[in-house]
Symmetry: C3
Subunit: 260 residues, 3 copies
């Protein structure tokens, strides 16, 4: 029973998503088709790359993931299909080669191919909608058993995003806000695990404050309090209890520093 | 063929919903997974409770419903699993024990259990995302046949919301606006059935007007008219024909009185 | 394996959509249920008609499509069920008879029936929610094999929208903006194919400019440039590269002229 997922910046309720579903279900009626999100900010490849990694981690290794955030649609940019090794969690990913797969590729060994075999595409192909006319039918063909080596030739030079890595000092980590969720929680690029809590006291600097209290979960401080905590993806996160940290003025790119 | 539904306040298109889907489909690939809504206002347990009841009434008795509106995530608040009797319409509900199941529990006989058996959970459990790490895997385990008595011990003291019940006088019912839908229709907590129309004339007071005309359906009055009618859930509703009652200033909590 | 789709103006995340899903899955548990969109602007039959056509084109001929944009719910307006011939692409469509099926009916030969056989409906029927109480159960009955001739009697006078057709002059086509997508791309009612590009030079007048450059795909001009192109539905479209044409002031109804 093939499982395919869709991630786009088309907007929730977009008719373009519906068109892609029609193409896939026409070819693979028995498929389980799952919307991951269509609310990636338009043309925001960086946010798309980050969320695609987060959203697909818990999926089974046989899943086929189609991702479309594609400001270069119709240009010479490649479309690619990447098969992840079992050691890297498995999964097959189809996307434009613009960095959208940056964090997927980091998971471990994989084989990447350009999507070249036009016999698998819809005909004609619209120069503005490769998601419907190339990615959807190729994903459907893979779901029906088309081997990956008939999709196109191997490539080893996929585009990777310059990613703002946290900077590690002897007694500190410096990072920034990289994602804001629908509650207004502000997620940083500072990886932390819950074990840090017991090892040593940490000082968190963010939003102009020297010591943002570090808590284990939202409800440990009074409503309205600005807190830091380790979020569900194991990144340090700045939140306001029962409120929105984003509404209090914290924004993408603002610095956050952990020291000890 | 197991049927699972998801209701959250994570926001439409939230990556957190996608993560829960991955957990469930990894364990139960053959599941039918249905989004009820992810647009519950953040941390609004009262609206979540009301809509969960409305949305699940027509589902088959074998359905498993996962609901997450959970401002107390990570605290000592319990997570619970409730099996409804056939007389109460069936269904299995998993949610935090914070009142979210108030209207479900009122349906009739049921057995409630705390979710305690950590062998069924993901490991480790994030203190900020029990939806993904506890509720989703336990719901999947139930879908695969795990008996309810292995989830945890029975409890009989589930949290119920204080609900603003309509007040019944000898010749009147007083209530208030409790929900506003996407059209701007304002739903009250006054239960009325269509039979009331034929029994006796009713006077409706709302929005500063003494006699809001009572109609059977939206199109019975001229566009722009403020009307009262019995909505599809059998609650009295205030609406503007071809427009939005909410946009005309009617808001949650405003009083509505029916007299005869 | 029955395939049913849902299109409404109820709003993404609407509890009304969830109720319709419950009705359908209670009757046809094995159904594949696909949300096309619930983001049709409230009561906007014209946009609903246009998008329903666009969204359903790629679906398999056996699909059953339920569409609800229904300002006249509960009035004497008919509900209809239309079976499209194989020559017209197939598909069964259920909708109010208010013009929502205008572009579907144009596809070719079909048989239309009023939905009259109340034995197939829920009981009682809410006068404000025929989507849940009539269309959903009738669609489910069809999915389970109920023949179309038991739904109701044949009709040949379905309501069609007055549609602003583009006007063809000897050396020009005059149209207007009829849809704006989530990127802010403004789609016109001027049909054009990519072949036009090679045949002769075209001059595009829109948004107060005499010569909007015609490109093949978004990325062929510099970011911020106002361009015209043939969109994925083969309609002329006005866009801003890496931006939003709608945000630059282009709106529904504005004229666009192509001349040569």
């Amino acid at each position: 029973m093939p499982l395919l997922t869709l991630t786009t910046d088309f907007g929730t309720g977009s008719p373009y998503v519906a068109e892609m579903k029609g193409v896939i279900l026409s070819a693979v009626p028995e498929a389980t088709l799952v919307d991951l999100t269509h609310a990636i900010p338009p043309q925001d490849v960086r946010t798309g790359a980050m969320l695609l990694d987060q959203m697909t981690r818990a999926f089974p290794p046989g899943a086929i993931h189609v991702a479309v955030v594609d400001p270069g649609v119709g240009t010479a940019r490649r479309l690619v299909c990447v098969g992840m090794s079992t050691a890297a969690g498995g999964g097959i990913f189809l996307a434009p080669d613009n960095g959208l797969l940056t964090f997927i590729l980091r998971r471990g060994p994989h084989v990447a191919r350009t999507i070249e075999n036009a016999a698998l595409w819809r005909n004609p192909v619209s120069p503005t909608f490769h998601g419907r006319d190339i990615l959807a039918p190729v994903a459907a063909a893979i779901a029906r058993g088309t081997p990956l080596d008939s999709i196109g030739s191997r490539v080893d030079d996929l585009t990777l995003l310059d990613w703002a890595e946290a900077k590690y000092g002897p007694r500190s980590i410096e990072g920034e806000i990289v994602f804001i969720d629908s509650f207004g929680n502000c997620v940083t690029n500072i990886p932390l695990s819950h074990q840090c809590f017991v090892k040593q006291p940490l000082a968190i600097r963010a939003a102009g404050r020297d010591r943002v209290p570090l808590v284990r979960t939202y409800a440990e401080a009074a409503p309205g309090t600005l807190v830091a905590l380790v979020g569900s993806g194991n990144w340090l996160e700045i939140a306001v209890v029962n409120g929105s940290a984003a509404a209090s003025g914290i924004a993408l790119g603002l610095p956050v520093v952990v020291s000890w």
